[in-house]
Symmetry: C2
Amino acid sequence: MKKIAQGPLTSFYPLPTLLIGAMVDGKPNVMTAVYGGLANGKPPKLNVGIVRSRYTWNAIEVGAAFSVNIPSASQAKQVDYCGVESGANADKIAKAGFTVFYGDLGTAPLIEECPINIECVATHILDFDMHSLVVADIKQTHVSEDCLTDGVLDTTKVDPMVFLTAPARKYARVGEVLGDAFKMGLELK
Amino acid sequence: MKKIAQGPLTSFYPLPTLLIGAMVDGKPNVMTAVYGGLANGKPPKLNVGIVRSRYTWNAIEVGAAFSVNIPSASQAKQVDYCGVESGANADKIAKAGFTVFYGDLGTAPLIEECPINIECVATHILDFDMHSLVVADIKQTHVSEDCLTDGVLDTTKVDPMVFLTAPARKYARVGEVLGDAFKMGLELK
Protein backbone atom coordinates (compact mmCIF):
# COMPACT_ATOMS: atom_id res chain seq x y z
CA MET A 1 0.00 0.00 0.00
CA LYS A 2 1.41 3.37 -1.03
CA LYS A 3 1.64 5.85 1.84
CA ILE A 4 1.28 9.60 1.49
CA ALA A 5 3.06 11.80 4.09
CA GLN A 6 0.62 14.52 5.13
CA GLY A 7 2.70 16.42 7.70
CA PRO A 8 2.11 16.42 11.47
CA LEU A 9 -1.70 16.15 11.69
CA THR A 10 -4.13 15.70 14.59
CA SER A 11 -5.86 12.95 12.61
CA PHE A 12 -6.43 10.61 15.52
CA TYR A 13 -9.57 8.43 15.42
CA PRO A 14 -11.83 8.16 17.22
CA LEU A 15 -12.00 10.77 19.96
CA PRO A 16 -14.64 10.87 22.69
CA THR A 17 -17.14 13.74 23.02
CA LEU A 18 -17.24 15.04 26.59
CA LEU A 19 -18.96 17.76 28.57
CA ILE A 20 -16.70 19.28 31.21
CA GLY A 21 -18.56 20.85 34.12
CA ALA A 22 -16.98 23.34 36.51
CA MET A 23 -17.92 26.23 38.77
CA VAL A 24 -16.78 29.43 37.05
CA ASP A 25 -17.19 32.71 38.94
CA GLY A 26 -19.48 30.87 41.38
CA LYS A 27 -21.82 29.50 38.72
CA PRO A 28 -21.99 26.06 37.09
CA ASN A 29 -20.77 26.01 33.50
CA VAL A 30 -20.27 23.29 30.92
CA MET A 31 -17.98 23.08 27.89
CA THR A 32 -17.52 20.50 25.17
CA ALA A 33 -14.15 18.76 24.85
CA VAL A 34 -12.86 16.02 22.57
CA TYR A 35 -9.29 15.85 23.84
CA GLY A 36 -9.53 13.37 26.69
CA GLY A 37 -9.21 9.79 27.84
CA LEU A 38 -8.01 7.56 30.63
CA ALA A 39 -4.62 8.18 32.25
CA ASN A 40 -4.38 5.40 34.86
CA GLY A 41 -6.29 2.21 35.54
CA LYS A 42 -6.08 1.71 39.30
CA PRO A 43 -6.72 4.04 40.98
CA PRO A 44 -8.62 5.56 38.07
CA LYS A 45 -7.37 8.80 36.58
CA LEU A 46 -8.47 10.62 33.45
CA ASN A 47 -7.07 13.44 31.35
CA VAL A 48 -8.68 16.23 29.37
CA GLY A 49 -7.18 18.92 27.18
CA ILE A 50 -8.57 22.45 27.56
CA VAL A 51 -7.66 25.50 25.48
CA ARG A 52 -6.63 28.18 27.97
CA SER A 53 -8.70 30.89 26.29
CA ARG A 54 -11.86 28.94 27.21
CA TYR A 55 -14.05 30.38 29.99
CA THR A 56 -13.87 27.07 31.89
CA TRP A 57 -10.11 27.42 32.18
CA ASN A 58 -10.65 30.01 34.94
CA ALA A 59 -11.92 27.17 37.17
CA ILE A 60 -9.07 24.72 36.58
CA GLU A 61 -6.03 24.40 38.82
CA VAL A 62 -4.40 21.54 40.71
CA GLY A 63 -6.83 20.55 43.46
CA ALA A 64 -9.89 21.91 41.64
CA ALA A 65 -13.01 19.75 41.38
CA PHE A 66 -14.66 19.39 37.99
CA SER A 67 -16.79 16.87 36.15
CA VAL A 68 -16.57 14.88 32.94
CA ASN A 69 -20.01 14.00 31.63
CA ILE A 70 -20.45 11.38 28.91
CA PRO A 71 -23.36 12.48 26.71
CA SER A 72 -25.47 10.19 24.58
CA ALA A 73 -26.04 10.46 20.83
CA SER A 74 -29.51 11.95 21.39
CA GLN A 75 -27.81 15.02 22.90
CA ALA A 76 -25.57 15.82 19.91
CA LYS A 77 -27.15 19.22 19.19
CA GLN A 78 -26.86 20.39 22.81
CA VAL A 79 -23.30 19.05 23.06
CA ASP A 80 -22.25 20.94 19.93
CA TYR A 81 -23.90 24.10 21.28
CA CYS A 82 -21.80 23.84 24.46
CA GLY A 83 -18.73 23.91 22.21
CA VAL A 84 -19.68 26.85 19.97
CA GLU A 85 -20.96 29.16 22.74
CA SER A 86 -18.93 30.57 25.65
CA GLY A 87 -20.07 30.60 29.26
CA ALA A 88 -18.85 34.22 29.33
CA ASN A 89 -21.77 35.14 27.02
CA ALA A 90 -24.63 32.79 27.93
CA ASP A 91 -26.01 30.42 30.53
CA LYS A 92 -25.28 27.40 28.37
CA ILE A 93 -26.72 24.91 30.86
CA ALA A 94 -30.11 26.65 30.76
CA LYS A 95 -30.09 27.15 26.97
CA ALA A 96 -29.19 23.51 26.40
CA GLY A 97 -32.05 22.48 28.70
CA PHE A 98 -29.69 20.67 31.07
CA THR A 99 -30.25 20.12 34.79
CA VAL A 100 -27.33 20.32 37.25
CA PHE A 101 -26.85 18.11 40.28
CA TYR A 102 -23.95 17.71 42.70
CA GLY A 103 -22.38 14.54 44.04
CA ASP A 104 -19.76 13.63 46.63
CA LEU A 105 -17.46 16.59 45.99
CA GLY A 106 -20.28 19.12 46.20
CA THR A 107 -18.54 21.56 43.85
CA ALA A 108 -18.36 19.67 40.55
CA PRO A 109 -21.55 20.40 38.58
CA LEU A 110 -22.94 17.23 36.96
CA ILE A 111 -25.35 17.10 34.03
CA GLU A 112 -28.33 14.95 34.96
CA GLU A 113 -29.33 14.31 31.33
CA CYS A 114 -25.93 12.70 30.54
CA PRO A 115 -25.90 8.94 31.22
CA ILE A 116 -22.49 8.96 32.96
CA ASN A 117 -21.16 11.65 35.27
CA ILE A 118 -17.60 11.49 36.55
CA GLU A 119 -16.53 13.61 39.52
CA CYS A 120 -12.82 14.38 39.55
CA VAL A 121 -10.09 16.47 41.13
CA ALA A 122 -7.16 17.81 39.09
CA THR A 123 -3.75 16.46 40.14
CA HIS A 124 -1.38 17.49 37.32
CA ILE A 125 -1.45 20.17 34.63
CA LEU A 126 0.91 20.34 31.65
CA ASP A 127 0.67 23.61 29.71
CA PHE A 128 1.31 23.27 25.98
CA ASP A 129 1.11 25.96 23.29
CA MET A 130 -2.65 25.75 22.79
CA HIS A 131 -4.12 23.22 25.22
CA SER A 132 -3.36 22.42 28.83
CA LEU A 133 -3.46 18.72 29.60
CA VAL A 134 -5.26 18.26 32.91
CA VAL A 135 -4.88 14.94 34.71
CA ALA A 136 -7.37 14.21 37.46
CA ASP A 137 -8.31 11.57 40.01
CA ILE A 138 -11.71 9.98 39.29
CA LYS A 139 -13.48 10.23 42.64
CA GLN A 140 -16.99 9.02 41.83
CA THR A 141 -19.01 7.83 38.83
CA HIS A 142 -22.78 8.33 38.67
CA VAL A 143 -24.83 6.38 36.14
CA SER A 144 -28.42 7.00 35.06
CA GLU A 145 -30.60 4.17 36.30
CA ASP A 146 -31.94 3.50 32.80
CA CYS A 147 -28.40 2.78 31.52
CA LEU A 148 -27.99 -0.23 33.79
CA THR A 149 -28.87 -3.83 32.92
CA ASP A 150 -29.08 -6.04 36.01
CA GLY A 151 -27.24 -3.32 37.93
CA VAL A 152 -24.30 -3.19 35.50
CA LEU A 153 -23.50 -0.31 33.17
CA ASP A 154 -24.75 -1.13 29.66
CA THR A 155 -22.94 0.79 26.88
CA THR A 156 -25.70 0.07 24.38
CA LYS A 157 -28.04 2.05 26.65
CA VAL A 158 -25.45 4.82 27.14
CA ASP A 159 -25.24 5.16 23.30
CA PRO A 160 -22.09 7.34 23.56
CA MET A 161 -21.02 9.86 20.95
CA VAL A 162 -17.89 9.41 18.87
CA PHE A 163 -16.00 12.43 17.55
CA LEU A 164 -14.27 12.26 14.18
CA THR A 165 -11.70 15.02 14.19
CA ALA A 166 -10.46 17.07 11.21
CA PRO A 167 -10.87 16.86 8.31
CA ALA A 168 -14.19 15.07 9.09
CA ARG A 169 -15.30 17.17 12.12
CA LYS A 170 -18.42 15.06 12.64
CA TYR A 171 -20.20 13.37 15.53
CA ALA A 172 -21.21 9.74 15.11
CA ARG A 173 -22.77 6.89 17.01
CA VAL A 174 -20.98 3.71 18.01
CA GLY A 175 -21.79 1.14 15.33
CA GLU A 176 -21.52 -2.59 14.78
CA VAL A 177 -19.75 -4.58 17.50
CA LEU A 178 -16.68 -6.32 16.04
CA GLY A 179 -15.94 -8.69 18.91
CA ASP A 180 -14.73 -9.15 22.46
CA ALA A 181 -11.47 -7.63 23.60
CA PHE A 182 -8.89 -9.96 25.18
CA LYS A 183 -10.63 -12.81 23.36
CA MET A 184 -10.88 -12.46 19.59
CA GLY A 185 -7.09 -12.30 19.19
CA LEU A 186 -6.40 -15.46 21.19
CA GLU A 187 -6.65 -17.69 18.11
CA LEU A 188 -3.51 -16.02 16.69
CA LYS A 189 -1.59 -16.68 19.90
CA MET B 1 -33.56 10.59 36.17
CA LYS B 2 -32.41 8.63 39.18
CA LYS B 3 -28.61 8.32 39.41
CA ILE B 4 -26.75 5.39 40.91
CA ALA B 5 -23.28 6.04 42.38
CA GLN B 6 -20.99 3.22 41.22
CA GLY B 7 -17.68 4.27 42.80
CA PRO B 8 -14.66 5.58 40.89
CA LEU B 9 -14.84 3.67 37.58
CA THR B 10 -12.89 3.86 34.33
CA SER B 11 -16.20 3.89 32.44
CA PHE B 12 -15.19 6.45 29.85
CA TYR B 13 -16.72 6.12 26.36
CA PRO B 14 -15.55 5.79 23.73
CA LEU B 15 -11.81 5.10 23.72
CA PRO B 16 -9.69 4.73 20.60
CA THR B 17 -7.92 1.48 19.71
CA LEU B 18 -4.28 2.09 18.88
CA LEU B 19 -1.19 0.12 17.94
CA ILE B 20 1.97 1.54 19.47
CA GLY B 21 5.13 0.69 17.57
CA ALA B 22 8.61 0.93 19.06
CA MET B 23 12.07 -0.57 18.73
CA VAL B 24 12.58 -2.89 21.71
CA ASP B 25 16.00 -4.52 22.11
CA GLY B 26 16.79 -3.50 18.53
CA LYS B 27 13.68 -5.09 17.00
CA PRO B 28 10.36 -3.55 15.95
CA ASN B 29 7.46 -4.40 18.27
CA VAL B 30 3.84 -3.40 18.44
CA MET B 31 1.37 -3.28 21.35
CA THR B 32 -2.31 -2.44 21.59
CA ALA B 33 -3.37 0.55 23.68
CA VAL B 34 -6.73 2.16 24.37
CA TYR B 35 -5.58 4.90 26.73
CA GLY B 36 -4.70 7.72 24.39
CA GLY B 37 -5.80 10.88 22.65
CA LEU B 38 -4.72 14.33 21.60
CA ALA B 39 -2.85 16.58 24.02
CA ASN B 40 -2.31 19.78 22.01
CA GLY B 41 -3.72 21.18 18.79
CA LYS B 42 -0.93 23.31 17.32
CA PRO B 43 1.77 22.09 17.23
CA PRO B 44 0.15 18.66 17.42
CA LYS B 45 0.87 16.50 20.44
CA LEU B 46 -0.71 13.22 21.52
CA ASN B 47 -0.69 11.18 24.69
CA VAL B 48 -0.80 7.45 25.35
CA GLY B 49 -0.96 5.48 28.59
CA ILE B 50 1.31 2.42 28.86
CA VAL B 51 1.42 -0.08 31.73
CA ARG B 52 5.05 -0.22 32.84
CA SER B 53 5.13 -4.01 32.96
CA ARG B 54 4.58 -4.10 29.18
CA TYR B 55 7.52 -5.10 26.99
CA THR B 56 7.17 -1.88 24.97
CA TRP B 57 7.84 0.17 28.09
CA ASN B 58 11.55 -0.70 27.75
CA ALA B 59 11.66 1.50 24.65
CA ILE B 60 9.94 4.56 26.10
CA GLU B 61 11.77 7.53 27.60
CA VAL B 62 11.76 11.27 26.95
CA GLY B 63 13.30 11.76 23.52
CA ALA B 64 12.39 8.26 22.30
CA ALA B 65 10.76 7.83 18.90
CA PHE B 66 7.68 5.63 18.67
CA SER B 67 4.61 5.33 16.49
CA VAL B 68 0.86 5.40 16.98
CA ASN B 69 -0.92 3.46 14.27
CA ILE B 70 -4.67 3.80 13.76
CA PRO B 71 -6.00 0.40 12.69
CA SER B 72 -9.19 -0.19 10.76
CA ALA B 73 -12.12 -2.37 11.82
CA SER B 74 -11.03 -5.13 9.42
CA GLN B 75 -7.92 -5.59 11.60
CA ALA B 76 -9.76 -6.19 14.90
CA LYS B 77 -8.48 -9.75 15.39
CA GLN B 78 -4.83 -8.80 14.79
CA VAL B 79 -5.20 -5.72 17.01
CA ASP B 80 -6.59 -7.80 19.86
CA TYR B 81 -3.77 -10.31 19.42
CA CYS B 82 -1.20 -7.50 19.84
CA GLY B 83 -2.82 -6.80 23.22
CA VAL B 84 -3.00 -10.37 24.56
CA GLU B 85 0.51 -11.45 23.51
CA SER B 86 3.81 -9.97 24.72
CA GLY B 87 6.69 -9.05 22.46
CA ALA B 88 8.91 -10.78 25.01
CA ASN B 89 7.39 -14.12 23.90
CA ALA B 90 6.60 -13.74 20.21
CA ASP B 91 7.28 -11.75 17.05
CA LYS B 92 3.82 -10.22 17.11
CA ILE B 93 4.34 -8.24 13.91
CA ALA B 94 5.06 -11.44 11.94
CA LYS B 95 2.26 -13.44 13.59
CA ALA B 96 -0.25 -10.67 12.92
CA GLY B 97 0.86 -10.58 9.29
CA PHE B 98 1.88 -6.93 9.53
CA THR B 99 4.58 -5.23 7.44
CA VAL B 100 6.86 -2.61 9.01
CA PHE B 101 8.09 0.52 7.30
CA TYR B 102 10.00 3.53 8.58
CA GLY B 103 9.37 7.22 7.97
CA ASP B 104 11.10 10.51 8.72
CA LEU B 105 12.43 9.51 12.15
CA GLY B 106 13.89 6.24 10.89
CA THR B 107 13.49 4.53 14.28
CA ALA B 108 9.71 4.46 14.82
CA PRO B 109 8.34 1.24 13.25
CA LEU B 110 5.12 1.92 11.33
CA ILE B 111 2.50 -0.68 10.40
CA GLU B 112 1.85 -0.50 6.67
CA GLU B 113 -1.55 -2.24 6.92
CA CYS B 114 -2.91 0.47 9.27
CA PRO B 115 -4.51 3.35 7.38
CA ILE B 116 -2.90 6.08 9.53
CA ASN B 117 0.62 6.02 10.94
CA ILE B 118 1.80 8.74 13.29
CA GLU B 119 5.49 9.21 14.02
CA CYS B 120 6.18 10.83 17.37
CA VAL B 121 8.83 11.67 19.92
CA ALA B 122 8.12 11.54 23.67
CA THR B 123 8.41 14.89 25.45
CA HIS B 124 6.84 14.30 28.89
CA ILE B 125 6.19 11.21 31.02
CA LEU B 126 3.99 11.14 34.13
CA ASP B 127 4.28 7.90 36.12
CA PHE B 128 1.08 6.85 37.87
CA ASP B 129 0.42 3.70 39.91
CA MET B 130 -0.33 1.46 36.93
CA HIS B 131 0.10 3.43 33.72
CA SER B 132 2.62 6.00 32.62
CA LEU B 133 1.13 8.83 30.62
CA VAL B 134 3.45 9.58 27.71
CA VAL B 135 3.04 12.88 25.88
CA ALA B 136 4.71 13.16 22.50
CA ASP B 137 5.20 15.55 19.62
CA ILE B 138 3.50 14.38 16.42
CA LYS B 139 6.28 14.68 13.83
CA GLN B 140 4.71 13.13 10.73
CA THR B 141 1.45 11.45 9.67
CA HIS B 142 1.39 8.88 6.88
CA VAL B 143 -1.92 7.92 5.28
CA SER B 144 -2.64 4.95 3.03
CA GLU B 145 -3.39 6.19 -0.46
CA ASP B 146 -6.72 4.32 -0.56
CA CYS B 147 -7.96 6.30 2.50
CA LEU B 148 -7.82 9.61 0.65
CA THR B 149 -10.64 11.18 -1.33
CA ASP B 150 -9.39 13.94 -3.65
CA GLY B 151 -6.16 13.99 -1.64
CA VAL B 152 -7.91 14.52 1.71
CA LEU B 153 -8.10 11.94 4.51
CA ASP B 154 -11.52 10.25 4.44
CA THR B 155 -12.56 8.72 7.79
CA THR B 156 -15.18 6.54 6.16
CA LYS B 157 -12.34 4.85 4.27
CA VAL B 158 -10.21 4.64 7.43
CA ASP B 159 -13.11 2.84 9.18
CA PRO B 160 -11.46 3.25 12.63
CA MET B 161 -12.08 0.98 15.60
CA VAL B 162 -13.86 2.18 18.73
CA PHE B 163 -13.07 0.58 22.09
CA LEU B 164 -15.81 0.22 24.67
CA THR B 165 -14.07 -0.19 28.01
CA ALA B 166 -15.23 -2.22 31.04
CA PRO B 167 -17.73 -3.59 31.68
CA ALA B 168 -18.33 -3.93 27.89
CA ARG B 169 -14.72 -4.66 26.76
CA LYS B 170 -15.70 -4.77 23.10
CA TYR B 171 -14.44 -3.36 19.84
CA ALA B 172 -16.92 -1.63 17.57
CA ARG B 173 -17.10 0.27 14.31
CA VAL B 174 -18.01 3.94 14.00
CA GLY B 175 -21.72 4.04 13.20
CA GLU B 176 -24.30 6.52 11.96
CA VAL B 177 -23.13 10.12 11.52
CA LEU B 178 -25.13 12.44 13.79
CA GLY B 179 -24.10 15.75 12.26
CA ASP B 180 -21.40 18.34 11.73
CA ALA B 181 -19.40 19.66 14.66
CA PHE B 182 -19.31 23.47 15.11
CA LYS B 183 -22.53 23.61 13.10
CA MET B 184 -25.44 21.56 14.47
CA GLY B 185 -25.44 23.46 17.79
CA LEU B 186 -25.56 26.90 16.19
CA GLU B 187 -29.38 26.93 16.14
CA LEU B 188 -29.38 26.98 19.97
CA LYS B 189 -27.03 29.95 20.05
